[in-house]
């Protein structure tokens, strides 16, 4: 009946084995619509077929976790009946093809994931990776992505408060755009996607369905070749105005008790939303496509089922509540249509123009989806201590690093995002973590995204640990207790054993860190096949984490606040330069062992810092990350516009363990370290408390003046600021691309 040829199967991204399995499950050949449905439901993007067996190893539970992975977003209890709802998701492939719309619809999609759970989005973050600055496409992609994120988020009126940006040649042909949304809901008003019960109306809400984005999920599950630009028609076009209406209308509907289940139509649109809702609810769904609001004439069933038109939701209502719901959507001038009904079967039945065009067992689309234990090939981690010039002048190195693409100020980016709308942003972009107050309360949520892809490439296990550890450190540095995380796992082609090894080892590293740091994974997304012409990206398992600040008056920020403060360093410094930014930017090499992450030390140091902040003893804190100690100190000085005189004790009683030379001490990327600036008369108390807890903590300087002084090195804040703030505007200006440095 169907004329499904092997070529057609291949075009749908299904292997011959997978197609054989479909024949077996159905006992017949699928129709074209059915083939389309299988192709998206069984795509890597929707089915997680290469990663599901490994994702099971992630810890997902804690007493405060209300909803773990498997729903549209994760939910954690933040006390007083409030819940935080959050998730991060990638929009990598579309953003490379069409940066503005790709990034914009990434923002829109993750917001829908959050408000479909009943939460009002309160903050957005973005983890972005671009190719080498010198690559001819980088500047265009960066400016398009930033404009797209701003264009969508600013219109939505949700502040974009944080994120991260890296440059590396491995992303030249495959940038990463990972968007995270955090929302607030009442803990007893969380909406899920299980379409329970039979005879309930299935309603379509939001924008009309058009021919855009057909097969986006399939595209996101394959590598790019030279023809990447030809895939433009698979990119969706965003309309933030409609999304704003959809947000307000959904939240208004959620105030009633009309909803049984609701889910956004994201990747694979109507297909995945209906199949997943039926699957979770243990019911069947009958859809009549003639009732679907359509933007274009003569759309086929195939096109409607696979369209990824944006700003659409599918909901199952209690019978008889259609009029009430319709009135709300009319008010917001959105389309509303009853397009189906839940059934007591286990089948997804799709009708169009009086014909049944698909009739599939729901389980075949979900549980029976392929599950692969793909072979992996363990690669030894890089090792050894790299050679470097120990006599490099510290001041020159610092200036070079502060003005390097990965360490310079990101103001050019975040000033294009409205980061203060909603009047709750108490810590803006540029710090360790953004802090957003829980509206009309004294509580606040801290949030951050972190991963160090070069560590993950060198040693995926340690790199996975480090991503979680750094995220938790950033939360602790503002005084927030880490609650939970979302993971956005960006990797290359999982069918290559060396890539699969990166995936397996990184997940193990993440899992171990999450366990020790008591920070479960509650939601996530995998983006595989991030390769162009066979070149994979650096493995990039981005971690988005949130933490709770009980009293927003007791938090810390990185800016120096008072002249005369003592500057304290918590954590050992052994001078790890392997895989450091120093080594890459100054020595021009990417080698050596990554800094190991001592998770117990991370836990203890984080707890100590949070305790000091909660007790009101510390209001100035910064984690020591990329670039090492001297970069971190400079960031504190620049943020507070106060200088610092550094004079750590040398020798056995000092912070430098063993025979660490100056270059390694100041630019090494040892983990688990924090800088604290405390009033001089309280420094003794803090140091004594650290001693009592047997934690390594030293006084390394004094906050004063308008210079950074270190022995014979003296740099004015003006000089530091010029290089730190200068790179981005110069790069994004109209001039020639900067020379390779």
């Amino acid at each position: 009946m169907s004329g499904i040829t092997p070529e057609l199967v291949a075009e749908h991204g299904l292997s011959a084995d997978e197609y054989g399995r479909i024949l077996e499950l159905l006992g017949r050949a699928p129709s074209l619509v059915e083939l389309g449905v299988f192709s998206v439901m069984w795509s890597e993007h929707c089915s997680y077929k290469s990663t599901r067996v490994h994702l099971r190893r992630l810890p997902t539970k804690a007493p405060w976790v209300i909803q773990g992975p498997g729903e549209n977003a994760g939910v954690v209890d933040i006390g007083d009946g409030d819940a935080a709802v959050f998730k991060m998701e990638s929009h990598n492939h579309p953003s490379f093809i069409e940066p503005y719309q790709g990034a914009a619809t990434g923002v829109g999609g993750i917001m829908r994931d959050v408000f479909t759970m009943g939460a009002r989005p309160i903050a957005m973050l973005n983890a972005l990776r671009f190719g080498a600055p010198q690559h001819p496409k980088t500047r265009h992609l960066l400016s398009g992505v930033v404009a797209g994120i701003g264009g969508y988020g600013n219109c939505m009126g949700v502040p974009t408060v944080g994120g991260e940006v890296n440059f590396h040649r491995s992303y030249n042909g495959n940038i990463l755009v990972n968007a995270m949304c955090v929302g607030l809901a009442r803990a007893d008003k969380i909406f899920l996607s299980a379409a329970k019960g039979a005879g309930n109306p299935v309603v379509y809400i939001g924008s009309k369905t058009g021919r855009d984005g057909i097969h986006g999920a399939t595209m996101a599950s394959a590598e790019f070749g030279e023809d990447a630009q030809e895939k433009r028609p698979t990119v969706q076009v965003g309309d933030p105005f409609t999304e704003k209406l959809l947000l307000e209308a959904c939240l208004e509907l959620m105030e009633t008790d009309a909803i049984i289940a609701i889910q956004d139509m994201g990747a694979a649109g109507l297909t995945s939303s209906s199949a997943e809702m039926a699957d979770k609810g243990g019911s069947g769904i009958d859809l009549d496509l003639d009732k679907v609001p359509q933007r274009e004439a003569e759309m086929t069933a195939y096109e409607m089922m696979l369209s990824e038109s944006q700003e659409r939701m599918l909901a199952v209502l209690k019978p008889g509540r259609e009029k009430q719901a319709e009135a709300i959507f009319k008010k917001w001038e959105l389309d509303f249509a009853v397009i189906g009904v839940t059934t007591p079967t286990d089948r997804l039945v799709v009708r169009h123009r009086g014909q049944v065009v698909a009739d599939l067992p729901v389980g075949a689309l979900s549980n029976a989806a392929p599950l692969y234990e793909r072979p992996f090939e363990r690669r030894p981690a890089t090792s050894g201590v790299p050679a470097y010039d120990r006599n490099r002048p510290l001041g020159d190195c610092l200036l070079h690093l502060l003005g390097s693409p990965d360490l310079c100020a990101r103001r050019w980016i975040w000033e294009q995002y409205d980061h203060t709308v909603m009047n709750d942003t108490v810590q803006r972009p540029g710090g360790d973590a953004a802090v957003v107050r829980v509206h009309a309360s004294q509580k606040a949520l801290a949030m951050t995204t972190d991963v160090t892809p070069r560590y993950c490439f060198a040693d995926p296990f340690e790199g996975g640990k480090q991503a979680v550890a750094e995220a938790c450190r950033n939360l602790s540095a503002v005084g927030a207790r880490p609650l939970a995380a979302t993971d956005n796992l960006n990797f290359g082609n999982p069918q290559k054993p060396e890539i699969m090894w990166q995936i397996v080892a990184a997940i193990d590293g993440i899992a171990e860190a999450c366990r020790v740091l008591d920070c479960p994974i509650v939601s996530g997304n995998c983006s595989l096949y991030n390769e162009t012409n066979g070149e994979g990206i650096l493995p990039t398992p981005t971690i988005g984490a949130i933490g709770l600040i009980g009293d927003v008056q007791r938090m810390a920020s990185l800016a120096f606040k008072r002249e005369g403060d003592a500057l304290l360093l918590l954590g050992h410094t052994r001078g790890h330069l392997g895989q450091s930014i120093f080594l890459r930017e100054i020595e021009g090499r990417e080698e050596g062992a990554v800094p190991p992450v001592d998770l117990v030390a991370e836990r203890d140091h984080g707890g100590f810092v949070r305790g000091l902040i909660e007790a009101g003893l510390v209001d100035t804190c910064h984690d020591v990350g990329d670039g090492g100690l001297l970069v971190a100190v400079s960031e504190m000085a620049l943020a507070g516009d106060i200088g610092v005189v550094l004079a750590p004790t040398k020798g056995g009683d000092g912070p430098a363990a063993g025979s660490v030379d100056d270059v390694a001490f100041w630019f090494g990327e040892d983990q688990g370290r924090y800088l604290l600036s405390v009033p001089a008369d309280q420094a003794g108390e803090v140091l004594a408390e650290a001693r009592r807890r047997r934690l390594p903590c030293w006084r390394i300087g004094e906050v004063c003046g308008d210079h950074l002084v270190l022995g014979g090195t003296k740099l004015s804040l003006e000089q530091l600021r010029a290089v730190h703030e200068g790179w981005f505007p110069a790069y994004m200006g109209q001039g020639e691309l900067p020379p390779v440095n």
Partner: protein, 227 residues
């Protein structure tokens, strides 16, 4: 004394600073302002101040504020202003006010063609108004901006007249003109001085936790005048 100023905040479908304006007003007056939906053709009775909040009104895909200028509620807002009632248009609200011609000039795309969001330093140019009486002329204040189209333009004659009549309420301080506005104009008054439009956001600086309290005096001026 309990201030008795009665305020209304207009809500267009994509207003997004309506809650911020409402909470700033509530914080200073102790009363929740009335939220007025864009399809209403009348304002609630007894309103002293109408706030047109920031946001994207109807998506602003045409020109910012262009569609909003033709909404039902704007006819009522205009009538309120014609009666001498106070109207405060912030950001998108300012754009709506120029589109309705309740204020002269236009707001074009920022000179750098990028959205800008940061704190900015303003000079209060005119303290003789219901909106600015609690400031002193020449005072420097810090408000945030967050807009893509705040580049104020009017012809020379209009600009001369605005300046001559003391209707430039706020200017960007030297070095802080973030959008290319002519004569550094950040906010202007109507001829009868009962309508103020400004691009920066006073409602975002009424709480020390959010980075300052310089916006309070604007609302306190209104409370003192209208209360």
């Amino acid at each position: 004394m309990v201030p008795s100023m009665r305020a209304a905040v207009i809500v267009f479908p994509a207003s997004n600073c309506d809650r911020d304006a409402a909470s700033a007003l509530e914080g200073l007056t102790g009363q929740k302002p009335q939220m007025v939906w864009h399809q209403q053709s009348e304002l609630p009775a007894g309103i002293d101040l109408v706030v047109l909040p920031g946001g994207f009104s109807y998506g602003d895909y045409l020109r910012t504020g262009a569609m909003a200028a033709h909404s039902s509620v704007m006819a009522a807002v205009r009538a309120h202003a014609d009666r001498g009632g106070a109207v405060l248009g912030i950001c998108n609200g300012f754009q709506v006010l120029t589109e309705t011609r309740m204020l002269p000039g236009v707001l074009m795309r920022n000179a750098a063609l990028k959205f800008v969001c940061h704190m900015t330093e303003l000079v209060v140019s005119e303290s003789q108004s219901a909106f600015t009486r609690k400031y002193s002329a020449g005072q420097h204040v810090s408000f945030p901006v967050a807009h893509g189209e705040g580049n104020y333009y009017a012809d020379e004659a209009t600009l001369d007249r605005l300046e001559g009549e003391g209707r430039v309420a706020f200017r960007y301080a030297p070095g802080h003109n973030c959008n290319g506005s002519t004569r550094d104009i950040a906010g202007i008054l109507s001829e009868k001085r009962n309508v103020l439009g400004l691009m920066p956001h006073p409602e975002r600086v009424c709480d020390p936790l959010l980075g300052g309290t310089d916006g309070r005096a604007l609302f306190q001026s209104l409370i003192e005048t209208l209360g």
